[in-house]
Symmetry: C2
């Protein structure tokens, strides 16, 4: 079944648009002044108030927030209000009592990509591992891996709108209504179809080429009316793996890219202004126990590849420093079910988890640490972090500048001095924000990514309108809008 067919099957469930009357609120002040004019209404009012109070009381106990720990909650110790509610999260019910302002959500159109860019990649991944060609590719299961966020976003948009209530974005089936165009290319899965990039094919089955598929995607996009209209500025493409889309980045750089870091992107390809930093999909099971240090006897834990390129060279140096410390576990390990089990045990029984840079600044381990309530010790000077407007990472992690972290004895003695009370505070905060890093929960990562995409809309609309009226200019430097960091910098956040 193609995406179109899936879309059509959901079409009938599209919610009815609100009529203008539906959009008006019951304003209690005016309500009261009207009621004074009629004794009939006076009587009614008493009943109304009773019902309202009864409802409010019941609602307090029955509201989803009270029963579902997965709903977003805000860091209790944060002095800031949950300001991200500024971006309208609209419940698209037809409630005539809802707020008087019309509340359009941000609207997303899901491209009906040719299968080769979506389910076809799942099939290729399966074939490359000895699987058989599938009859109905859409029945194939997307294989679990750390960049499977692309699958969750695609699936989210395919759900009937009635199951998407509370989402910051609404899917629209008419591209003319759309604010954003989602391009559901499985760019990260495409990258790992072959166990190495130049896998040999056979006569009956030529080798899959990620590069060819990237190029084909750009050709397809550049033929689309809506892509051409705004040079892709209102398009959203996930490139979660730092190497995803590497061949065509210059062609898609105007789009809102959903990335894990900017390690492989040039300054004109990716930026915090237009792009959204997304979390890896954690591979370690969530720790569901209470916050506690009692069963966490290991001081510091790391398991992963000891040898990495670029910023990741620090890993081997850290191994040399740490491998003989008594209460520290640092183990070389590669991805496997077995090592995941060992890592789960390690992360669930350690106070701190080491998060050094990998080939790029980000790594899945940070999110594994957070859902394990194992305080991350981040040693990656150029790391970018998801949802940093709503999460103050100093409350859930310790940042250490690389050169400082390499001073003999520094790390372990610093960590040993941290009291249990302080560790419990970190754990409490991680517990509060961990839903942001859970793709699979109802109001978790997926909604948060949409919310952040939605927040980009004013600036994107401005860029689109401005680009179109700008006249030709002789400029020595590119016409850019920037915001720069203070560049002061800390040695450690502790």
């Amino acid at each position: 079944m193609s995406t179109t067919e899936l879309l059509r099957s959901n079409k009938s469930k599209k919610p009815k648009a609100l009529s203008s009357d539906d959009r008006h609120t019951l304003n209690p002040t005016r309500f009261l002044s009207m009621a004074r004019k009629s004794s009939l209404i006076k009587q009614a009012l008493a009943t109304v108030l009773f019902v309202v109070l009864l409802y409010a009381t019941l609602n307090t106990f029955l509201s989803p927030a009270a029963v579902s720990p997965a709903l977003p909650s805000f860091s209790s110790s944060s002095s800031s209000p949950p300001y991200d509610a500024v971006i309208n999260v609209v419940s698209r019910d037809n409630d005539p009592n809802s707020n008087s302002n019309p509340k359009p959500v941000v609207k997303v159109y899901l491209y009906d990509l040719p299968t080769r860019f979506t389910y076809g990649i799942i099939e290729q991944h399966s074939l490359a591992r000895g699987g058989h060609p599938a009859g109905d590719v859409s029945s194939l299961k997307y294989p679990g891996h750390q960049h499977m966020g692309e699958w969750y976003l695609f699936k989210d948009l395919l759900k009937p709108e009635s199951d998407r209530v509370g989402s910051p974005v609404a899917r629209v089936l008419d591209p003319d209504e759309a604010d954003f165009f989602y391009v559901p290319f499985f760019s990260s899965l495409s990258l790992i179809v072959n166990t190495n990039r130049q896998a040999a094919g056979s006569e009956e089955r030529p080798a899959y080429s990620d590069e060819e598929n990237q190029v084909a995607l750009v050709e397809w996009l550049e033929a689309q009316e809506y892509w051409k209209r705004n040079n892709g500025r209102d398009h959203v493409i996930m490139a979660s793996d730092p190497n995803a889309l590497y061949k065509v980045l210059d062609s898609v750089k105007n789009a809102v890219l959903l990335v894990c870091d900017f390690g492989r992107l040039k300054a004109d390809q990716g930026s915090l202004v237009k792009d959204v930093i997304v979390p890896y999909s954690h591979r370690i099971n969530t720790y569901n126990g209470d916050i506690s240090v009692e069963n966490r006897n290991t001081l510091l834990f790391f398991m992963g590849n000891r040898f990495r390129k670029e910023g990741g060279k620090i890993r081997d140096l850290l191994f040399q420093l740490l491998e003989n410390e008594e209460d520290v576990i640092v183990k070389h390990g590669t991805q496997s079910r077995e090592s995941r089990r060992a890592a789960t045990h390690g992360m669930h029984t350690s106070k701190f988890c080491l998060n050094p840079a990998g080939d790029t600044p980000s790594a899945c381990r940070l999110f594994d640490s957070i859902v394990s309530l194992c305080v991350p010790v981040v040693i990656s000077d150029s790391i970018e972090l998801p949802f940093e407007d709503v999460i103050d990472y100093r409350k859930i992690a310790i940042f250490v500048e690389s050169n400082t972290a390499l001073k003999p004895g520094f790390l372990v003695s610093m960590l040993r001095e941290i009291t249990s009370e302080r560790i419990l505070e970190y754990q409490k905060e991680m517990n509060e924000v961990k839903h942001y890093f859970q793709y699979g929960v109802p109001n978790g990562t997926v909604n948060e990514i949409w919310r952040h995409i939605a927040q980009k809309l004013p600036f994107i609309k401005l860029s689109i309108n401005r680009d179109k009226r700008l006249v030709k200019r002789d400029m020595n430097v590119p016409d850019c809008s920037c915001v720069c960091s203070n560049q002061t910098g800390i040695i450690t956040s502790l």
Copy 2:
């Protein structure tokens, strides 16, 4: 009366905070299922529905949207939805029936600045013009000029919250609750207190110094706890006149600056990402007639200073090209009541109004043209435009690249070819958006500026959190997030 006293006098009107119960909505589905369980409630329900229907009916006719033409409307020919409603404009009534999501607005704290930065400047302006010292400076009338937006924003925040319903921001009296800190320095008035900057004082009254006051403001700010906390990133300062604050820009560059263009700001001082482009306060009366070309016999009109520095040198060249054209009026004139009257007449009776660059790219004339329904012909290659995310200026103005505009005969022959129908379309669009350029109307420029400030909040919060956890890095280039224009450029938008 100082700002504090004014604030205190409004304090009693502060709306009661919503209790958690108040925030729950009457969800009609659950309401109905509960009602089925009780016949008492069944009776009540009928009454409730009657009252709701009565209210909804009355509300449709009595809602502000139905009576006030000044409320925001969106360009009718635009295919985009009014997406800026994505940013929650919350009515802060205590309606228990309002939407189920808690809806905090963006909160602004108004600094209680020493009088020398606010009313004291009005007094100095008066004294420099032969006025007498005022007993109560807060009774002084702010003098009308093209950068008096700073007065409207200040006044708006001083209003009781009950008069601010519908505003995208709520004033808070506790700085700990604030998202933003508004610094109501009259920076533009300060600049024009003296008729020239080095005005001579007398023994009893030393000359006012704008520069000294700018420096004093920064000293005052840098002593404030909340300024220091985030290096001013969450502070908002209006610098509407392109020369306002010129002495201290480096000290306030982290703040959200409300500016007319970036003509006097360096790339690291101002940017579309963190700042808000605000309109000049128009000095020509709004044209209240119908859209029409009948009484507009002049093809192109301009009145203003013929001689300007920098980009404004083009004015003299345009005068030479245009002054002998039959249906074109270009007149040299300086600001005076008399010339304002002549300009009003000219703009209300012309089809097109010339908008060349001045000393900086922007000029008041653009907003005078729009409220006059005189189609602006913008010849200013580096102009920035207010609210460009919600306004597609190609629909209300014609942009011409400077070198092209200077080709003999080009401008007038281009304009003469534009049909009356097309001019009416421009006028219709101007009519739709002109409320954005009216500071004095209930839902005009002031609310739109706040809405745009509110939209910056996610990125500002991100910058604040990120800055604090960034470790020291050796970087060759500053750590900046940028979005650049396509740099393709048009010759004319016609």
